[in-house]
């Protein structure tokens, strides 16, 4: 019963009786020459026996490593520090691959009101983005907020299957999209659950043939892909209202979120691609007898209205397909001026850090807003697991089936909605 190294603090893991056994064995080894005469004497002898072999506690390498990680808040400091440099890990856009790059963050500038974030990230698929944003989230004790910023990105291999619900998978081509977005916005938050925002951005989108073997120009032209041949800059005006009473916010179990956005894209050079758009995104979370089981429902619709003699450029059209909407289809599988997406998920808690989910997605795109109805919907269903906490989902793994786009496996950071 004697442990191989009784001075090792971690021997508690390996020897069940621990020091007590050592003490008793030690006493036995002393023989009967000096018997204890009182209970106090017996206990004192036990302690004296232990005193002969006390040693500093030892910890395993794993325990030391975890202590260091926790005490030094290593992951927080490295991955998401409040100030200073940090690595940007994740994604720059859907399908762009795993992104990595440097980031820098300062908060409390200019009298404590301004937070600054600058970051850059790239992927092995040669996607990259640089972003600089100054936010003022604490104006009027948090009831007013504002931001200004600029973003430059290059997505060299965006998939395109044509415009409309009848686009064909075999027409898949790629195009490259570069853009510089400069702008700012401001808003008010009259209630914790309500925010009203307005913003203006300058956009300079440019498309090219893409990095893959089959560039977009091989199959499509400016008539079938509006905006392909001629490039222009846009001024985008946007107002939105966001009602958000989800609880908890990051991984909702009840409540809802309703976002209404009106945007106007003003073609500044050609007068050919100006349009307006209304987006409505409604989410509702209904506990099924208990908050451990939730029915998560989403309706998202988008309707665009191009000005007379104008069109909506294909690269600014709403899309369906991919890990966040129609999960049984490839990303950007469908696109057009108008869109409808319906999603339903039944989520249940398996244990504290893992939820299961059964989901059903349906949606369509249409060139005319009056065609946005419940007929001819594309759909899929699937099952998934979400890993995270009440504050959010950091990883989800899903399998999507039942679509004419085949089976799809989804591994994605963050929640679907």
């Amino acid at each position: 019963m004697r442990p191989s190294n009784p001075n090792d603090y971690r021997h508690r893991l390996l020897t069940p009786v621990g020091v007590w056994a050592v003490v008793l064995l030690g006493l036995a080894a002393d023989g009967f020459a000096q018997e204890a005469t009182t209970r106090a004497d017996e206990l004192r002898r036990a302690r004296e026996a232990k005193a002969a072999q006390v040693a500093p506690p030892k910890q395993t390498g794993l325990e030391r490593a975890l202590i260091w990680l926790e005490n030094d808040r290593f992951l927080e400091r490295v991955l998401s520090p409040a100030v200073g440099f940090y690595p940007v890990l994740g994604s720059v856009t859907t399908g762009g691959g795993f992104a990595i790059g440097p980031g820098y963050r300062r908060s409390g500038l200019l009298g404590g009101q301004v937070d600054l974030r600058v970051s850059g990230a790239g992927t092995f698929q040669r996607y990259w983005m640089v972003d600089a944003t100054a936010t003022m989230p604490r104006l009027a004790e948090g009831r007013v907020f504002a931001d200004v910023g600029a973003r430059r990105y290059d997505f060299p291999s965006e998939e395109f299957f044509g415009v409309g619900a009848t686009s064909r998978r075999e027409d898949k081509v790629t195009y490259g999209l570069r853009n510089l977005v400069v702008g700012g916005g401001a808003g008010v938050r009259p209630r914790p659950w309500l925010s009203l925002t307005g913003r203006v951005d300058w956009l300079t989108p440019r498309v090219d043939g893409g990095a893959d073997d089959r560039p977009i120009q091989d199959v499509f032209d400016d008539a079938s892909a509006p905006g392909l041949a001629r490039h222009t800059d846009f001024l985008r005006y946007e107002v939105s209202a966001d009602v958000n009473y989800r609880q908890p916010l990051g991984n909702p179990r009840r409540g809802g979120q309703y976002v209404f956005t009106y945007s106007h894209f003003d073609d500044r050079d050609l007068g050919a691609y100006s349009f307006s758009r209304v987006d409505v995104d409604l989410q509702q979370y209904v506990p099924v007898f208990t908050e451990r089981r939730v029915l998560a429902l989403r309706l998202m619709t988008s309707a665009s209205d191009a000005a007379t003699q104008n069109q909506v450029p294909f690269y600014l059209q709403r899309t369906l397909g991919g890990p966040d909407d129609l999960r049984g289809f490839r990303r950007f599988r469908f696109r057009d001026e108008n869109l409808l997406l319906l999603q339903a998920e039944y989520r249940w808690e398996i244990f504290t850090a893992v939820d299961g989910a059964l989901f059903y997605d349906a949606g369509k795109v249409a060139s005319r807003v009056e065609d946005i109805d419940l007929s001819d919907l594309e759909s899929d269903y699937g099952i998934g697991f979400r890993f995270g906490t009440t504050n959010g989902v950091f990883l989800r793994v899903e399998g999507a089936f039942g679509s004419r786009g085949g089976k799809h496996f989804v591994l994605r950071y963050g929640h679907v909605f």
Binding site: R12, V17, G18, P57, Q59, R77, F351, G356
Partner: protein, 535 residues
């Protein structure tokens, strides 16, 4: 402590000891033990550390009680305490006014926002604030939990409900905070504002907080709920076999102390008469009752480990159709200061901490019985006095908390006071009259038994064996008379008491009591409830 070698007498002259002097040897210079939340969770969830044999608690004395030590000081278990005494707990002052006390450090451990301040006499205090959505919740739980644990006998630090006025709190030159770059730097007013942004603000603009006074001595980190400290010569009883730690499960269940784990303990190196020794504290009661420190307790708390395979697999396989019973609980609409706390669904036997605790796992029915007796000693009046200490602004919160604690107490007592043959307080007078109590009957959780059966024997202390023929007797009352033939000419006698009750077949397990002749009467020197399985 009841162990002995073959040649040792069963009972020493000083049995039953009331004090285990585990400060006897100089502790030298032990080093602080740091802990990792992640490691602690993984280790206890997957590895089951410690000795898991079903053995009697090793630190009880010969009459099955816990002697005073650096771990535990018998209080309500051995003498009456007034409700006021109980409510006062470890505090040496009635109240605390911290206006003008300088901030010397931002609290760096745990999830609750706070500061460290120094009092005018140089003592260090830690402030912990309530979450904005649940004012009074965490601080209320802290003072209630501390008062109960203290009254039972555990070492806890002083804690006071205070109001913190940031306008009156200077930041001392040299006060430190650790920013997210890992750099320790001088605290600034913005740091104070940042911390207070996560704290509940009172209508008067101040912030209610718990002010905990740092314990005396040098901090040495935490104690584990298994093994012993290898650098403390006085620590010879494996913690998973210490009764007061095993029975912590009973108290944890009553108070919903789901965060009762090693990392929420504290070892302090003290010095007395030139000798250094370690005192062991339980602390951080912010996650007790309905409080989860920064949020209300999650519904799972107290009902299931963070990771428990059985229910998880059932839930997975049934696609959520299998609903754990605790998921069905409808918590009543109560003041936000309560958090999430109830008594109707509460099942003491099913209660669990956040993840397995070796000492709790080792708890046997005799340990639970000991813990339940402590819980049973808190009267309704005492519970109300302790709850009043939380100073809830809403009388409905005070009433609700009191009523839930009373109801949970009754459930704990009913569950665990009946798990063993509940014979207590045996007395044998000089005339041979034996009296005792049935703790379950006294507590009102059981009807009087059908009968008590007694087996009397003469006892040879040197050989630890009964000698001569045994004598049998029966009684329907908790009293009888020892046969004169048994008492004559011996220094030790034993009586095994078997209790017959139709509702409690476990009471058939006899309690064996040993008496030693003294100058005036007979002194109970041994009480053994025999083998007791897990409750």
């Amino acid at each position: 402590m009841t162990s002995s070698t073959a040649v040792s007498p069963r009972f020493y002259p000083d049995d039953p000891i009331r004090v285990d002097d585990d400060t006897a040897l100089d502790a030298g210079q032990p080093v602080p033990i740091e802990g990792s939340n992640g490691f602690d969770f993984v280790q206890h969830t997957f590895l089951k550390p410690g000795d898991r044999r079903n053995v009697r608690a090793v630190n009880v004395n010969t009459i099955d009680e816990v002697p005073d030590s650096s771990w535990f000081t018998n209080r309500i278990g051995v003498h009456e305490m007034t409700p006021q005494e109980i409510a006062r707990g470890p505090n040496q002052q009635e109240s605390l006014n911290i206006d003008g006390w300088p901030i010397v450090q931002e609290k760096s451990s745990g999830i609750t926002p706070g500061f460290r301040l120094t009092s005018p006499d140089g003592r260090l205090y830690q402030l912990k604030f309530d979450p904005p959505a649940n004012p009074e919740m965490s601080s209320g739980a802290e003072v209630i939990g501390a008062a109960f644990y203290h009254a039972m006998g555990y070492n806890v630090t002083q804690g006071y409900i205070v109001e913190f006025d940031p306008e009156l709190a200077p930041i001392r030159e040299g006060a430190t905070t650790v920013d997210m770059s890992g750099t320790t730097r001088q605290m600034r007013r913005q740091d104070v504002d940042r911390v207070l942004a996560r704290a509940a603000r009172l209508p008067n603009g101040k912030y209610r907080a718990l002010a905990s006074r740092f314990a005396d001595g040098v901090p040495l980190g935490y104690f584990a709920y298994y093994g012993t400290r290898p650098d403390d010569p006085n620590d010879v009883h494996p913690h998973e076999h210490r009764r007061e730690l095993r029975a912590g499960r009973v108290i944890g269940a009553w108070l919903n102390h789901d965060d009762s784990r090693g990392l929420n303990s504290l070892d302090m190196l003290e010095q007395r008469d030139g000798r250094r020794f370690i005192r062991h504290y339980v602390f951080d009661f912010g996650s007790t009752l309905g409080s989860g420190s920064t949020v209300p307790q999650v519904p799972r708390a107290g009902n299931e480990y963070i990771l428990e395979w059985g229910p998880a697999l059932k839930s997975l396989a049934s696609l959520g159709l299998y609903l754990r019973p605790w998921m069905r609980v409808q918590y009543p609409e109560v003041p936000r200061s309560i958090g999430r706390f109830e008594a109707d669904f509460f099942d003491p036997l099913a209660w669990r901490p956040e993840y397995p605790n070796p000492a709790f796992d080792n708890m046997r029915a005799d340990d639970a019985f000991w813990g339940a007796r402590l819980v049973q000693r808190f009267s309704d009046e005492a519970i109300r006095a302790v709850v009043a200490k939380a100073q809830y602004s809403d009388p409905a919160a005070t009433e609700y908390m009191s009523s839930v604690l009373i109801k949970r107490r009754d459930k704990v007592v009913a569950a665990w006071l009946t798990g063993v043959n509940p014979i207590v307080e045996p007395r044998l007078d000089a005339s041979g009259a034996l009296t005792f109590e049935n703790a379950a009957v006294t507590a009102g959780v059981a009807t009087p038994p059908t009968a008590y059966a007694f087996t009397w024997s003469r006892f040879d202390n040197d050989t630890s064996a009964d000698i001569g023929p045994a004598e049998q007797a029966r009684s329907t009352q908790p009293r009888t008379t020892a046969p004169a033939s048994i008492l004559q000419g011996v220094d030790f006698v034993s009586v095994a008491i078997r209790t017959t009750h139709p509702d409690f077949p476990r009471w058939e397990q006899p309690v064996k009591i040993h008496f030693r002749r003294s100058s005036e009467a007979w002194e109970a020197v041994g009480l053994d409830r025999g083998y007791t399985s897990s409750p």
